[in-house]
Amino acid sequence: MTLTAFLQYFANALQWGSFYALIAIGYSMVYGVLMLYNFAHGDIFMSGAYIGLFVCTGLLAISAGGLVSMPPWLILILTIIGSMIGTSLVGMFVERVAYRPLRNAPRASAAVTGLMVGLLLETTNLWGLGAERRHYPPLIKVMSYKIGGVSITNTKIMVIGVALLVMLIMHLIVHKTKMGLAMRACAYDFPVVPLMGVSIDFIAPATFVLGSSAAAIAGVLFSISYPVLEPYMGMLIGWKAFIAAILGGRGSIKGAMLAGYLLGFIEIFVAAIFPSTLRDLIAYSIALLILTFRPLGFFGEPYSAHMRL
């Protein structure tokens, strides 16, 4: 592999890892704060992509109708914001329907309802919108820059930049705000938090809103880079991001980010060196090896004595 090829793959891996990292953050937050596997998160990502598609198509129609003419970059920003709001509502709905009634039940039951809500989102989409693949309208003109033989598109730069920015904001929310303090308190000692005057019924939806917003951004960015949407798009990428979240360590945002990028790198480089059918096999095997030697993930902390089962 020449240096140029390596750099090219490196850039691709950064982009691919950004999606994993953004989705893994959502898993990691819900897992850290509420100690449950949000198995519907991959489908929340899918909802984000579809809501973005509707917002974007609507805005383009308004813009073309001549009522208000908007430049493409404004449409893009509004699409991301609209998708974040819509997907947050989906996330809150999932929390309300599937997780809140089961807060005192075995955690595994909540995991099953999560799986079922995910299935529900997928099928409702398939049933309501049909199985045909949908395409994002071209919003921004794709431009390719050559830097020393490595071609980098402007979408790639945007994806990586936005992902890093979002992760920085998430990190600041969790570590510098009062709500973040409450969330970390939940992760530390769940039963005591309500005694301190913090409402779990506020913290839980807030966690879902943050995670879903990150998933919505990932959804819009993903559909701009790979402009094909289908109802089952969230499934595979969601499960992989889940594994990344676990690799990063329970509830750790920087861990989720690191593991997301690591998974992206493994997948891209395995596909570059070996036949691409071996991609999943090698990626999961490496994940398994890492967990064997570091059962708590990269930044995981040992469980507190108050683990709820």
């Binding site: 596997y37 329907v97 599937a98 009634p101 089961l102 005192n104 039940a105 075995p106 955690r107 595994a108 039951s109 995991a111 099953v112 309802t113 799986l115 079922m116 809500v117 299935l119 529900l120 997928e122 099928t123 409702t124 398939l126 049933w127 499934m235 499960w239 889940f242 594994i243 676990i246 059918t277 071996l278 999943d280 096999l281 999961y284 095997s285 994940a287 398994l288 967990l291 064997t292 059962p295 708590l296 469980y303 683990m307 089962l309």
Partner: protein, 416 residues
């Protein structure tokens, strides 16, 4: 006067033992076999309703009265009459014979009921296999309180190993060449192939168990999930067994009696295991690992053995599944299969073999009954499961056993 009569009937009905109901069902299926076609024809149904006519509710609502009449004539009336009058006789049965007669009656009813229609037979086979799968998942997830997502992967290993053995041994195949053993002894060697499949599955389970049982917590969930993905991906890359196109030409040896016997054997072994001294450590591990350790439970051993037993029976169920279908491909055993089994388990009930049976029968029946809805079926089923989970988070029948699974508590006579 009226009220006392109703009370009398009610108390009499409550006293009818399960055996009498089963005898009624057997008689009802016999009647269906003899006059089912004629009754269905005269009621305008055409053919006998396959799954108690539930499909008519969705496809031909006009036929619902006929369907009700059919159910009344063929099932309800004979079952009630037979159960009512045979109850005194059955109560005189010696308790030693109770379980064998129960199983004989059950099998007889299933055999005649399933023998009337190919589709019924297939549904019965899948229901029995699902029961085995759910009960074996119950060992790890229900009794031991861990969260294993490896059912799909275990099933795949069992299915592929068993299929390769039978195809290599007894079928003329393009890849494996002419049969290595005389095909005539094939059906007799099938149990051995299933057991080897189960053992191989249990050995691969060791790969999951060793790293994940070092720490308490959720690592089994993640490692077993990764295991399922790795197995699927591995099989997709294995050209010898067809890769993603799948593997076929398995002889369809898993007919109803075979599946019934294997499911029975599995439930028997698992029920005995959780009642044994070693197996009782599993709920101990779930409730308080430290306390169990203090009470001389070798928690590590209990965990590994329970997990391997669960894997063994999941592998056997996979082998049976392959020999019902006659064709398997890696995509069958993906995360959706695992999710289906988990839904059956958590809906049916934790820590109970009865619960596993209830969950598997209910969900599988629901999936078949809602088939006419096509895609929309997968909107209704999740909603129903979520509803059940919210109403009963521990499952429909949890921590309890019914019928022949219930252990009679023998009290020592007071010696004062």
């Amino acid at each position: 006067m009226m009220k006392s009569l109703i009370q009398k009937v009610r108390s009499r009905v409550n006293e009818i033992p399960t055996h009498a109901w089963l005898l009624g069902l057997l008689v009802a299926t016999l009647i269906e076999r003899l006059v089912g076609d004629a009754v269905a024809g005269s009621l305008g149904l055409g053919i006998i309703p396959r799954l108690f006519g539930v499909r008519y509710i969705l496809t031909k609502p006009l036929l619902i009265p006929s369907m009700m009449a059919y159910l009344l004539v063929i099932y309800l009336v004979p079952i009630s009459i037979v159960a009512w009058f045979s109850a005194p006789l059955i109560k005189k049965l010696p308790s030693r014979l109770s379980t064998p007669i129960f199983l004989l009656l059950l099998y007889g009813a299933l055999h005649i009921w399933g023998g009337l229609d190919e589709y019924r037979l297939l549904v019965l086979q899948f229901i029995l296999i699902s029961i085995l799968l759910t009960a074996s998942l119950n060992l790890t997830n229900g009794y031991m309180g861990e969260f294993s997502c490896a059912s799909g992967g275990f099933m795949a290993v069992g299915a592929y190993v068993t299929s390769v053995l039978t195809v290599w041994g007894f079928v003329n195949d393009d890849v494996f060449g002419p049969p290595a053993l005389p095909p005539a002894i094939g059906p007799f060697m099938f149990p051995i192939a299933l057991i080897i499949g189960g053992i191989v599955t249990a050995l691969t389970a060791l790969l999951v168990a060793i790293p994940s049982f070092r720490t308490r917590g959720d690592y089994l969930a993640i490692i077993s999930l990764a295991y399922t993905f790795i197995i699927k991906s591995f099989l997709e890359n294995l050209e010898l067994v067809g890769g993603p196109r799948g593997f076929m030409h398995m002889p369809k040896w898993a007919n109803l009696p075979v599946v019934f016997l294997w499911t029975l054997a599995g439930l028997w072994v698992m029920h005995n295991y959780v009642s044994s001294l070693l197996g009782k450590g599993a709920p101990g591990v779930r409730d308080d690992e430290l306390a169990a350790e203090v009470m001389t439970v070798d928690t590590r051993r209990v965990k590994v053995i329970t997990f391997m037993l669960s894997a063994f029976w999941t592998g056997v169920a996979g082998g049976l599944f392959a020999h019902v279908m006659g064709y398997i491909n890696p995509a069958t055993f993906g995360i959706m299969k695992t999710a289906e089994i988990m839904a059956m388990l958590y809906m049916g009930g934790l820590n109970s073999i009865t619960g596993s049976i209830v969950g598997a029968v209910l969900l599988k029946f629901l999936m078949e009954a809602l088939r006419p809805l096509q895609v929309a079926k997968w909107i209704f089923i999740p909603v129903i499961i979520i509803f059940f989970m919210i109403r009963r988070p521990w499952g429909l029948v949890s921590f309890r056993e019914f019928g022949i699974l219930r252990k009679e508590v023998k009290r020592a006579p007071a010696s004062d």
